[in-house]
């Protein structure tokens, strides 16, 4: 079907609005810049909410896809500035849905990624991009314990909307979906939250532990270049971009809540309150993985989560984790570990999101052994999954992914 959105009609008005963005008076204190060498929402200090959405494409026309990316780029710049996107869409009588009117931008960032299905879908090269699929955009291997559900897995276009206001984040995705109606269809979504203490610091996940202590320093360009941003080893259109792996991980919280804290700490390998490695007092104390007790048993257990994720046992690999918790009702669940609990349980867990310069040496390298050995696996089940190539940021006048389409 034809997917003509209001791209052309909206462009002029949008361009005017964008031009106005340059004026200092237009810049809201809580507005994150959209244009730049890297997409926002990766190195950006983590917001409190995410609305994660994965779309499939319903058009076979390359121009439609390019139109979507142009529209989304322009619209995103406005949305991140806290402006409505009335001028995009099929019908001027169907403007911005409006629920963000009067709200500040809440540090909204919109980050886009291309899934394997963009390059090849059911064996078909719909957009002449198959030859441009980066080697690093592999199909994720099947990991032990995976219970991936088709309605929470894969997809062609990914939008990560992060903001300090959940309504702002959801609003942004709704607008993008509205604008691209006829060309895209929602595949799966996941809302999430991440609450850091008022004084900052590493946020805690639903298991009550700090999550992200060993992240690379996002303020350090060298650290980011070493582990997150694609460099000259990647195709030109991806340089300055990054690869996202997303996993929807259900956590058996009722089971976890029955566990003694000391046991939880053995599972994680850190003290719960301080976040310090076992036997230490400071969250950022180095992991002494070789430390043993009098019997020669390791102080940080051999299958503790923190050990298996440590760069020291993963060829020095670091990935940038940017995860959010979710909780959304209950459902009947049969756990897959002794004692095989079967009960109505929370649909809750972690939308694990990580960025890296190459998933083969990043998530896959780390999670391979982890999926086999991690003591935490007794409480976690991976139900959703996606891998996406997130191109570099766009310059004003350009659009996200432009170098891919220009090259192909």
């Amino acid at each position: 079907m034809t997917s003509r959105r209001g791209f052309l009609g909206g462009a002029g008005a949008a361009a005017g609005a964008l031009a106005a963005l340059g004026a200092p008076s237009m810049a809201h204190a809580n507005a994150m810049p959209f244009f730049g060498p890297h997409q926002s929402g990766i190195a950006t200090p983590q917001q409190s909410h995410v609305f994660f959405a994965v779309f499939d494409l319903t058009t076979d026309r390359r121009d439609d896809l390019i139109g979507v990316m142009r529209d989304w780029t322009l619209a995103s710049a406005l949305l991140q500035a806290g402006l409505p996107v009335d001028h995009f869409g099929h019908d001027p009588a169907e403007p911005d849905s409006g629920e963000a009117i009067g709200l500040n931008p809440a540090r909204l960032t919109l980050t886009f990624g291309f899934g394997p299905e963009l390059f090849t879908y059911q064996g078909k090269d719909r957009y002449g991009l198959a030859a441009r699929r980066p080697a690093a955009l592999v199909d994720l291997p099947v990991f032990p314990g995976d219970q991936l559900q088709a309605d929470k897995t894969g997809g062609a276009l990914m939008v990560q909307a992060c903001a300090d206001d959940p309504q702002v984040a959801f609003h942004a995705v709704r607008q993008l979906a509205r604008i691209a109606d006829g060309a895209v269809t929602l595949n799966w979504t996941q809302a999430g939250y991440s609450s850091a203490a008022p004084n900052g610091g590493t946020p805690r996940n639903l298991m009550g532990f700090k999550d992200g202590t060993m992240n690379p320093n996002t303020a350090d360009p060298k650290a980011m270049a070493a582990s997150v941003w694609v460099g000259p080893e990647g195709p030109a259109w991806m340089q300055g971009g990054s690869y996202m792996v997303a996993r929807r991980i259900r956590i058996a919280l009722q089971h976890w809540d029955q566990m003694k804290v000391a046991f939880q700490e053995q599972v994680v390998g850190r003290h719960k309150r301080s976040g310090a490695p076992l036997g230490k007092t400071s969250e950022f104390a180095p992991l002494e993985l070789d430390a043993t007790d009098a019997d020669g048993n390791p102080v940080i257990p051999a299958n503790a989560h923190v050990r298996l994720g440590a760069p020291a046992v993963n060829d020095g690999v670091e990935i940038l984790r940017r995860s959010f918790s979710y909780s959304e009702g209950v459902s009947f669940t049969a756990e897959r570990w002794p004692p095989w609990r079967q009960a109505m349980e929370y649909n809750a867990g972690l939308l694990f999101i990580c960025y890296q310069k190459d998933p083969r040496g990043g998530f896959i390298r780390i999670f391979g052994p982890m999926s086999r050995l991690d003591a935490l696996n007794q409480f976690t089940t991976h139900e959703g999954s996606g891998i996406f190539a997130c191109p570099p940021g766009a310059a004003k006048g350009g659009y996200i992914g432009q170098a891919l389409f220009d090259a192909a």
């Binding site: 099947v142 032990p144 314990g145 995976d146 089971h255 029955q258 566990m259 003694k260 000391a262 046991f263 053995q266 599972v267 043993t292 007790d293 019997d295 020669g296 048993n297 390791p298 102080v299 940080i300 257990p301 051999a302 299958n303 503790a304 897959r336 570990w337 002794p338 004692p339 095989w340 052994p369 086999r372 050995l373 003591a375 696996n377 007794q378 409480f379």
Partner: protein
């Protein structure tokens, strides 16, 4: 005695009481054993994951290779998996090979899920042995849906030392070979002891059925050819077995043969260990044998092995302990938490299954089904 010190080894605490003397259980005067074996063990080392590339899990049987042959080196630890990637019990088809020298585990055998001569399919059980002639024999207690509702008859599968299927052994005496095997080898002849737990078993919810057997298979091993069964003798019968929604099947599991020809059998439902005398030579059934020890620290006993001091080591199903007992007197000397994973209650419940002594006698191998790993206690 130390109690519940913070563990280092695993995910929880080792209630490090390496030995917990049972109330009123002191070694009997004149016992052959001179001290507790478990008391000398303090380290619990994670050797590796037993999950192969196909995602099989739930490791059950452990057998230490007696010789080098084909792909196997003497001392390698063979471990089979009872579950496929789906985590359905009775569907696992793989055997892993852990090499202690290289500290690497690799896939040894991947058996077709459907095998002519193995009624009901393949789900590899705790019954596994390697003969000095290089042949591996492994039991199948298969299901198609992960429960005994679809329990098949199963079989014994014969593999060569490169992991290729060389044949199957089946017949009316063989019904879901289950427990760890005991083996006698004598040149080109051998005897295998295996429990059969599937007789009369239906869907979960069924009351215990007292039809499980212990079968002795006498084998002839022609030079370069797979073993041939020359005689089948039911030497134990009337053991209780029961289907279970969580753990699939409960029945006689541990078989350990002592030097005097007595076969010790763990009667899981009876929560006891019994003995069948003259196991290698008898031509009739001893019924459920003579009770050696019951209750106490036993919590649904599973696989068993003899320690170098002559004591029996008995794996518990309902906690993470291994129990040491004097087989002569039945005295339970103590127990050690070898899996104190507090994700289960009691810790380690449902996690343990197989056990095999390390060739140097300094420790033993065991599996942890909560983590799908092979462990070494030493």
């Amino acid at each position: 005695m130390r109690r519940c010190l913070k563990s280092s080894a695993l995910k929880s605490f080792w209630c490090a009481l390496p030995i917990a003397l049972a109330v009123g259980a002191s070694p009997p005067a004149g016992a052959e054993t001179t001290g507790s074996y478990l008391a000398g063990l303090h380290r619990h080392e994670l050797l590796g994951s037993m999950i192969p590339a196909n995602g099989d899990q739930n490791p059950y049987a452990i057998f230490v290779a007696p010789v080098s042959s084909g792909a196997i080196k003497a001392g390698d630890v063979l471990v089979d998996n009872f579950n496929a990637r789906s985590n359905d019990q009775g569907t696992g088809t793989t055997i892993m090979d852990y090499n202690p020298a290289t500290k690497q585990a690799s896939l040894f055998a991947s058996i077709p899920a459907k095998l002519d001569g193995c009624p009901g399919g393949v789900g590899l059980s705790t019954a596994m042995a390697m003969l000095k002639s290089g042949w591996i024999i492994v039991g199948s207690a298969p299901s198609t849906d992960g429960t005994t509702k679809t329990l098949g008859q199963g079989c014994l599968i014969v593999l060569d030392s490169n992991g290729k299927v060389a044949g199957t052994i089946t017949g009316p005496e063989i019904r879901d070979p289950w427990g760890n095997m005991a083996v006698i080898e004598n040149g080109d002849a051998a005897s295998l002891f295996v429990s059969n737990v599937g007789f009369g078993i239906g869907a979960p919810g069924q009351a215990p059925v007292r039809q499980a057997t212990v079968l002795r298979l006498d084998l002839k091993i022609p030079d370069g050819k797979p073993p041939v069964v020359t005689r089948r003798t039911v030497i134990g019968s009337g053991f209780a077995a029961q289907p279970d929604a969580s753990v699939f099947l409960i029945g006689p599991t541990g078989l350990a043969l002592s030097g005097d020809g007595t076969l010790y059998v763990s009667d899981a439902i009876g929560n006891r260990v019994v003995a069948i005398g003259e196991a290698a030579t008898r031509t009739d059934s001893a019924g459920t044998g003579r009770e050696v020890s019951a209750g106490g620290m036993l919590k649904r006993p599973l696989a068993m092995a003899f320690a170098p001091n002559g004591d029996l080591l008995v794996i518990n199903a309902l906690n993470g302990q291994v129990v040491e007992m004097d087989p002569k007197s039945g005295t339970q000397r103590g127990a050690q938490w070898i899996d104190s994973d507090a994700a289960q209650n009691p810790p380690g419940s449902g996690d343990l299954f197989g056990i095999a002594m390390a060739p140097d006698g300094k420790g033993f191998y065991y599996v942890e089904d909560d983590a799908n790993t092979l462990m070494l206690a030493e």
